[in-house]
């Protein structure tokens, strides 16, 4: 069933992960979503700063060149942005999760993203 259209910022340096995430988002009922991509944290911060309308959700990878996900999350929060930020990483150790939450992320999910994981995230943040 289609859901309301949302604006998503997908922050991920590896193209294959962006392709799979985009398809998973579409499969989670989001054929009409606006999905912007950023290949590193610095680009993500710029996208958030320059966005014409606030994002409804940010999916943030951890390890990226130029600026990593922790720093990007801190900077976005430093701008006063309250958009839900979900950390996405293959490292699911408690210390990694805690580091992301301390940076200002709202939640954490493991890579790779799937339709099911995205469904849970969207429901949690009332975007479904």
């Amino acid at each position: 069933m289609a859901r309301k259209m949302i604006r998503v910022l997908l922050v991920e340096d590896e193209e294959i992960n962006r392709v799979v995430a985009r398809a998973a988002l579409k499969a989670a009922g989001g054929g009409g979503d606006v999905v912007d991509e950023a290949e590193n944290g610095a680009v993500a911060v710029q996208r958030v700063r320059d966005a014409a309308a606030p994002y409804d959700l940010v999916l943030m990878d951890k390890q990226m060149p130029v600026m990593d996900g922790h720093e990007a999350t801190r900077r976005i929060r430093g701008m006063g942005v309250t958009t839900p930020i979900v950390a996405v990483s293959s490292d699911g150790l408690p210390a990694d999760v805690e580091a992301f939450i301390t940076s200002g992320a709202d939640d954490f999910t493991s890579k790779p993203l799937s339709k099911e994981k995205l469904g849970i995230i969207l429901a949690k943040f009332r975007l479904a």
């Binding site: 590896e14 193209e15 294959i16 992960n17 392709v19 398809a23 293959s90 790779p112 799937s114």
Partner: protein, 160 residues
């Protein structure tokens, strides 16, 4: 990956080429995990070649990452942080398509990095390369057979 589902498709389909395609995927069992099924489930009429596109991307990415690792092993001796960072990227790429055996070898490499074990890293990297080559072979066979099976193959591709 469910062998039962594969077998049920094979027994219901008379196409020799399609059956061969299913056998190719059955052969890949152990090399690919449930994530590959997830990727297959993302294929639809709007993206009829999605799986092959993702796999092609994987081999392009992984080739580049493995080349980076090889260079790093040579140019930056005992730089375990650098080696680990590259291998983490490769591991992430493996996870995206469910390349489980290759991912496991990536994790062994990272364990060796954590232990400061150069020989362990070198051994693991050779295994990563070997698994990469085997997986490429298996997936190339699979897609080749699917293409030969034609639209019927695409319509009734094995659900793994």
């Amino acid at each position: 990956m469910s062998l039962e589902r594969i077998v049920s498709r094979v027994t219901s389909n008379q196409s020799r080429k399609l059956a061969e395609g299913h056998k190719a995927i059955a052969n890949a069992i152990g090399y690919l995990d449930e994530q590959f099924c997830q990727v297959e489930d993302l294929q639809d009429e709007a993206s009829p070649n999605f799986v092959e596109e993702v796999v092609t991307l994987f081999f392009k990415d992984s080739g580049r990452l493995m080349s980076n690792i090889e260079q790093a092993l040579d140019k930056y001796p005992r730089d375990f942080n650098r080696w680990d960072a590259y291998m983490q990227q490769l591991k992430g790429s493996c996870s995206s398509i469910g390349a489980s055996r290759m991912k496991n070898e990536c994790m062994s490499f990272r364990d060796s990095c954590g232990q400061g074990n150069v020989e362990g890293c070198m051994r693991s990297f050779q295994k990563v390369k070997r698994e990469h080559a085997i997986l490429r072979q298996k997936l190339e066979s699979y897609f080749q057979l699917l293409r030969q099976a034609g639209p019927a193959g695409a319509a009734t591709r094995p659900v793994m």
